[in-house]
């Protein structure tokens, strides 16, 4: 089997991928800036939640690299208390994660040239990006599989986690998803693949909504007078969404998704499709 390509050689115009820590109140966010020379736009990627980060990591990174190669400067990051960011996950709230989107957007907006700022959220990130956009942040919004509220993400994530867990447990130890939902509804904590979901987090998630103007059948672009695109991703988008099996799908070709969404970004903020 051939050796993988190992050198870090970026396409022309990409200055590099710069990891760093971004200080927020009480924690530091792990960020990676895909730095571009003379960017035509900037985009903040608000990614998937807890264990979904793990399975979607490479596909999400490929999207960042795809955009950077098109002259769009990208900032991606880990949620507070997740991945390489500091902080205890169980101490976090949806409001603290929402604050982080605001802080990072403001920082990205002020970087150098005055170019359009786009927010892009995936699943839970869609709710967070949607709320920031509703508050006036960014010139355009792209949503992939954004649910109506945060609770839907918690439910679907727990259901995906529980399947293989059931298979590895003896019959007397197996519990249906409803068992865990009840525990959370009663204020108890449940540990999901190393992340302690508290009853309080669950309670907050029920009312942490995507702004109503972004829900079907409303036309958010009319409401906000700024471009908004919402895309529902299906099973063909694994492992970007809906989990996936590690080791087999990391090289999946997502050009069917990346190309039209990049075209939409370029047209909505009126920038060229290819960087000069």
């Amino acid at each position: 089997m051939p050796e993988p390509q190992q050198t870090e050689s970026f396409p022309a115009g990409i200055l590099g991928e710069r990891p760093g820590y971004f200080a927020v109140c009480g924690a530091s966010l792990y960020t990676v800036l895909h730095q571009v020379e003379n960017p035509v736009a900037r985009i903040l990627l608000v990614g998937p939640f807890t264990l979904e980060r793990h399975t979607s990591y490479r596909a999400w990174l490929q999207w960042a690299r795809f955009l950077a190669a098109k002259g769009i400067e990208v900032l991606r990051y880990d949620y507070r208390g997740v991945g390489e960011s500091t902080g205890r996950f169980e101490d976090m709230t949806f409001e603290s994660w929402a604050d982080d989107v605001q802080c990072l957007s403001a920082w990205l907006r002020k970087r150098g040239e005055d170019v359009p700022l786009v927010l892009h959220g995936l699943e839970m990130g869609g709710v967070l990006a949607g709320r920031a956009f509703d508050a006036g942040v960014a010139d355009a919004l792209l949503l992939w599989s954004a649910p109506a509220n945060a609770n839907q993400v918690l439910r679907s994530t727990l259901q995906r986690w529980i399947g293989p867990q059931q298979l590895l447990k003896s019959p007397e130890e197996r519990r249906p998803p409803s068992h865990y939902f009840q525990l959370l509804e009663h204020g108890e904590s449940v540990e999901i693949e190393g992340y302690r979901w508290t009853g309080e987090l669950w309670r907050q998630s029920l009312s942490f909504d995507l702004p109503a103007a972004m829900l079907q059948p409303n036309d958010p672009a009319t409401s906000y007078k700024r471009p908004v695109r919402s895309v529902a991703l299906g099973k063909n988008a694994t492992p970007l969404v809906k989990g996936g099996v590690p080791g087999f799908e990391e090289n999946k070709d997502f050009s069917w998704l990346f190309v039209p969404n990049h075209h939409w970004i370029a047209s909505s903020v009126n920038v060229p499709l290819e960087c000069s």
């Binding site: 200080a23 991945g83 590895l168 992340y195 990391e250």
Partner: protein, 332 residues
């Protein structure tokens, strides 16, 4: 506003020979306070990716363990190998096969040497989980001077067999891509393995001979190895399968050049990811105890012994099956 350092962590790269790896350095206790920039002649712990996992590992348990080891005085380094996590590079479509064949061995060995030299370490203990354990064994064979020990979590020594072509293609595809299919595949592999072992009484045909050969090489260098295994409950006929299964752990123990070279622990209350709180704690406790016994350099009292009940407990002594000759055969 963006920094490459925070608290006891620092973002670092290894860029020798045109291969750039991104990683995180967890500073040992005392380093931040005295302003030192390194811990010369100290032994470090180096974490490797588990298959396609980013360097934080499942449930961010890699971050947890690295933080704990550093707090006890062992500098810890977590790197993304090329194409994984934040490190640039292409990866093959069948990443598992690539890893099982030692695809990351050369780069992992080279980067281990680079790390030891650039940080002035006396060496490293490599920490690998699942496919990361496979890479750790291959890499250790390639840097015998630098690798002083191995910590292997749920290592495997067989090659997953492709499902038979007599199955419908869509069923094979489903089994390769779904989590349920992964469990069925594992069971299927164990059945084949057990059948082969009963027939031959030696390494089964689907043993990873290349990996076992490298392990022999590592053992002959006297490298100590800690193996942590997650106890799997009896499901899907697991108990019966296990009873008839080829005992790789007995086999590799027979390859040891000294009696205490292996320490094998089976952990209750966790699963293959070791990511739940019980698994994390048990891994930390066993590993730190092992490190302190074999590589006593801790600069700080361990929070393991100070702040919590030290509750390393083994499910039971691992009972091994029949010993087999310490001779790697072709299996044919």
């Amino acid at each position: 506003m963006i920094s490459d350092k925070v608290e006891m962590r620092e973002l670092i790269t290894l860029g020798g020979n045109g291969v750039l790896l991104h990683g995180t350095y967890h500073k040992p206790s005392g380093e931040a306070a005295n302003g030192a920039t390194g811990s010369p002649r100290n032994l470090g712990v180096m974490f490797l990716n588990a298959l396609s996992s980013p360097r934080s590992l499942v449930g961010d348990s890699g971050v947890y363990w690295a933080t704990q080891f550093a707090a006890s005085g062992y500098p810890a380094f977590r790197f993304d190998l090329p194409g994984l996590g934040d490190s640039y590079g292409e990866i093959p479509n069948d990443l598992l096969r690539f890893t099982n064949e030692g695809g990351y061995a050369a780069v992992a060995s080279a980067k281990t040497k680079e790390l030891v030299n650039s940080r002035g370490l006396s060496g490293v203990v490599m920490f690998g989980h699942c496919a990361g354990a496979t890479t750790a064994i291959y890499a250790a064979a390639g840097c015998s001077s630098e690798c002083k020990g191995l910590i292997l979590m749920d290592p495997y020594f067989n090659l997953p067999k492709a499902l038979t072509s007599s199955l419908r293609p869509e069923l094979v595809n489903w089994a390769r891509r779904s989590r349920v299919g992964a469990v069925i595949r594992a069971t299927y592999d164990r059945l084949r393995e057990a059948r082969g072992a009963l027939r031959k009484g030696a390494l089964p045909p689907n043993a990873n001979f290349s990996l076992i050969s490298r392990l022999k090489q590592v053992l002959s260098n006297g490298v100590p190895i800690l193996i942590l295994r997650a106890h799997q409950p009896a499901v899907l006929g697991e108990a019966q399968l296990r009873a008839r299964n080829f005992d790789y752990f007995a086999y590799i123990q027979s390859l040891a050049v000294r009696s205490n070279q292996f320490s094998i622990k089976e952990l209750d209350g966790t699963d293959h990811s070791f990511a739940n709180s019980e698994g994390r704690l048990a891994v930390w406790q066993h590993t730190e105890k092992w490190l302190r016994e074999l590589f006593p350099q801790a600069t700080a009292p361990s929070p393991l012994f100070e702040d919590q009940d030290f509750r390393v407990h083994e499910r039971k002594p691992v009972v091994f099956g029949t010993r087999v000759p310490a001779h790697v055969t072709s299996g044919e």
